[in-house]
């Protein structure tokens, strides 16, 4: 009986050793296998580039009428099938451009919010904001309208402290 058990255990151990050996060799093989499915990598990168292009287009549309933002992303040149490295570089450049545009728009939106609040304060108390002029551009709106704190009747108004807000009628 002990011999039988001994045989059984030694057989089990050898099976386990073989399995462990298979698993180890599979791990070693996968660790050493540096080949990459490049076609799949290119597909994935193209998907990412497509999403970034859509984001960039949405930001471009939302940015109007703000000026001075940079939208161009350098291209590797074509028309041809780009390799993984070129697609990665393009993806990174586009991601950077999207992030730059987002940050700039966020900063400008903050300033525009402040300017809107300033217009309300300007209208409420023009004398406190003497000669201050806020335009549509300052609040991220199209057109040439502006709010200007000016004295009524020129010099007399200035001396008397008669201040008012003049709102322009728009583009000439």
């Amino acid at each position: 009986m002990p011999e039988l058990l001994q045989d059984h255990f030694s057989e089990s151990e050898s099976v386990l050793d073989a399995r462990a050996g298979d698993a180890t060799s599979a791990l070693v093989r996968s660790a050493l296998d540096t080949r990459v499915d490049e076609a799949a990598a290119r597909r994935s990168l193209r998907g990412q580039i497509a999403r970034l292009e859509c984001e960039l287009a949405a930001l471009f549309t939302a940015a109007y009428p703000r000026r001075g933002l940079e939208w161009q992303v350098p291209s590797p040149g074509g028309p041809r099938v780009l390799d993984v490295g070129e697609l990665e570089a393009l993806r990174d450049d586009m991601a950077e451009r999207v992030e730059d545009a987002r940050r700039t728009l966020r900063d400008r939106a903050y300033v525009e919010r402040k300017n809107r609040a300033r217009i309300e304060a300007l209208i409420a108390d023009p004398a406190r904001f003497r000669w201050v002029r806020i335009s549509n551009e300052d609040i991220g709106e199209p057109g040439c309208k502006f709010w200007h704190s000016r004295p009524r009747l020129g010099l007399i108004g200035m001396l008397m402290g008669w201040w008012r807000v003049k709102i322009s009628s728009g583009c000439p």
């Binding site: 859509c54 287009a57 549309t61 291209s75 590797p76 041809r80």
Partner: protein
């Protein structure tokens, strides 16, 4: 299909290209045409389109599905769509710059009308010079656009080609021999479909172009 409707042929897309860009397609139709001055009816059509196209639409163009699909494809093939504009954007920018879609000859005007109405990228070649079927493939090493003295194409450039030679870049230059001229008797009206552009828009673009050429 009625006899008035054009027969739309599906061009061959090289397997290597089809594998990389599963949505890529090439469609064309061959139509008898006499290039030359644009008839008044077509000019009126251009004026009508000019009135419909304004700055606001131009601004939001890149968010429209078909224009967006071409912009994405341009990125995928290494072109910057803000530098080398997609055909629809190029037409619209020119309309804003010139104040209207200017007439440049019957075939060019037919292409402009079809492009602006559908957003699909269209090309035209002299069908009389084309050998066999048309399609898309990659340029072979040392191949030139426009014969021996033409521009050397970098290996792997995406080209529109017949069974003999490349006719032009997929978007851009056309080999002088295959360009539509006053001697052209038959025109190959071609459309490049990319992923995200429905087949129906491509067919509509070709029919629209052919109907303008036939009506003239």
């Amino acid at each position: 299909m009625s006899t008035d409707e054009a027969t739309v042929l599906q061009g061959r897309v090289a397997p290597a290209l089809r594998e990389e860009f599963p949505g890529l397609g090439f469609f064309y139709s061959i139509v008898p045409a006499q290039p030359g001055r644009t008839p008044s009816g077509v000019k009126k059509h251009l004026r009508y389109l000019s009135d419909r196209m304004h700055g606001r639409r131009a601004l939001s163009l890149r968010r429209e599905p078909i224009a967006s699909a071409y912009r994405v494809f341009f990125r995928h093939i290494g072109l910057d769509p803000d530098e080398v504009r997609i055909p629809l954007e190029a037409a619209v920018v020119e309309r804003l710059r010139a104040g209207g879609f200017k007439s440049e000859g019957l075939v060019e005007d037919a292409i402009t009308i079809a492009t602006v109405e559908t957003g699909v990228a269209m090309r035209a070649f002299d069908a009389g010079r084309v050998q066999g079927g048309l399609g898309l493939r990659l340029a072979e090493p040392g191949e030139r656009l426009g014969g021996k003295n033409g521009i050397e194409l970098p290996d792997g450039t995406l080209v529109v080609a017949d069974e003999q030679a490349p006719l032009g870049l997929i978007f851009g230059e056309t080999a002088p021999d295959y360009a539509v001229s006053r001697q052209t008797e038959r025109v190959a009206v071609c459309a490049v479909r990319v992923d995200g552009v429905p087949n129906i828009s491509v067919e509509e673009a070709i029919w629209s172009c052919v109907s303008v050429l036939r009506a003239a």
